[in-house]
Symmetry: C2
Subunit: 264 residues, 2 copies
């Protein structure tokens, strides 16, 4: 899905996504580079969606631009706080290759963890968006067995607190009837559903499996504010084929912006 | 999986399960007859499991006897409260065909919803079991859109309260290190995981899909008391084949007691 090409500045690269339908300026360091997660998250927005979409924790803009590329009427606000990623998001929107999409995209410098008046003052108004997508950061060490159990537990609690804050911002900034989608790790399923449930209904879970016979490595949850329907679990998206480890047909279609994750 | 044969008493039938490895005396009325759910739940107990197993809400004994049939060292307590189903469970254990299994099975008349001293007095002692399996009843109307929203909401709250009581009994009656497994509807996923999480870790969710491309109709959750590992979501069990609606190979193996649901 990603083809790399070194830019003039060695600290950053410019990479093509969705077969050249958009490009990202990203740090060359591996840790902060956009990957499959952002593209899967973007695919949770229905085809042909029009309205205002917030990409909370947008990074260089991967998920937001993927939505802009697939949904020609959507307007995207890339919300980011980290200076390096803000730089990337702005450089991404300034790329001449992105001009057709950039007119519908904006960057908002704001901390997603803010609440109440501080959040509103930062530009994240109540009921401001028709759809909010979230790809919250997490501590990679917290899902690995660690010799230091206390430290691991601290990481897990940090992750849970951040997830709670982010989902509270999503709940406040989505309009009644609007949508939310989040990609997260399987061990956070309960926290995510519990945090969404008071505000969002018709919650659908789509597990993401690396292979058909392996446990999920991620899930995408989607809901609608104020809907009364209950929780459902959809068939998983399987990323890789058994025989040759290549992307499955469905993963390839979703990852390249040719299909939506929830079939709509 | 089930072959019916009318018994002398027209109100009851005697049916073969697991290709004749055990039999159930059941009410002839359709509503109370054991089905796939009980067999899927039983399959959550690992192959070769030995120890004391409680089947909470055992009905005629389908899940408990399926465990007894597959796990030759397990001892089963069928816990039931409804007089008609108690009658069936006792008649089931008295069937000559079940003699090889019945020696390891017992019936306990007790209300699973009891707590504290009342529960202990009813015969459900603290930390009495190595594994507890639950197939809690639910109001079928609560998962269908109803013209009477208030009534539907009341059903959902009744179901949630019952689920909470049953899982509290499971948490109290399982030994440290012991297992729990429950089969429930997808809309109860959050309640089940939230109720299990304080006591049980290493919780695994296996969604049950009617077909590969349809949302889950049930899930089985399994956990271990005191384990520290996080929540995981496994590949779904798909019940029916696309082409002819027959059971898939895996569903057939699990439903007939030849395979375990979690691959162990």
């Amino acid at each position: 899905m990603v083809t790399g090409s070194e830019a003039g500045d060695a600290a950053y690269t410019t990479d093509a996504f969705h077969r050249g339908r958009f490009f990202l300026v990203q740090p060359a360091r591996k840790g902060h580079r956009a990957g499959t997660d952002a593209l899967l998250l973007a695919a949770a927005v229905p085809d042909g969606f029009s309205g205002r979409v917030a990409d909370l924790g947008a990074g260089a803009g991967a998920a937001g631009l993927a939505v802009a590329a697939r949904c020609g009427q959507a307007e995207i606000v890339l919300v980011e706080n980290a200076p390096e990623m803000l730089h990337c998001a702005r450089a991404t929107l300034a790329l001449p290759q992105n001009a057709p999409l950039a007119a519908r995209c904006a960057v908002l410098e704001a901390d997603v963890r803010l609440a109440g008046d501080a959040r509103r003052a930062a530009g994240l108004a109540d009921a401001a968006f028709d759809f909010v997508i979230l790809n919250p950061p997490f501590n990679p060490a917290s899902d690995r067995p660690s010799p230091d159990a206390l430290r691991r537990r601290a990481h897990m609690m940090e992750d849970a607190a951040l997830l709670g804050d982010w989902l509270a911002t999503a709940a406040s900034t989505v309009k009644p009837g609007g949508g939310v989608a989040i990609i997260a790790r399987p061990q956070s399923l309960d926290e995510v559903v519990s945090a969404l449930s008071p505000t969002f209904g018709a919650i659908e879970i789509r597990p993401i499996l690396p292979r058909a016979d392996k446990p999920a490595i991620r899930f995408v949850a989607r809901g609608r504010r104020g809907a009364s329907a209950g929780l459902s679990t959809l068939p998983p998206l399987v990323l890789h084929r058994e025989e040759d480890n290549r992307f499955t047909e469905e993963a390839e279609a979703i990852g390249s912006g040719r299909a939506a994750l929830f079939g709509d």
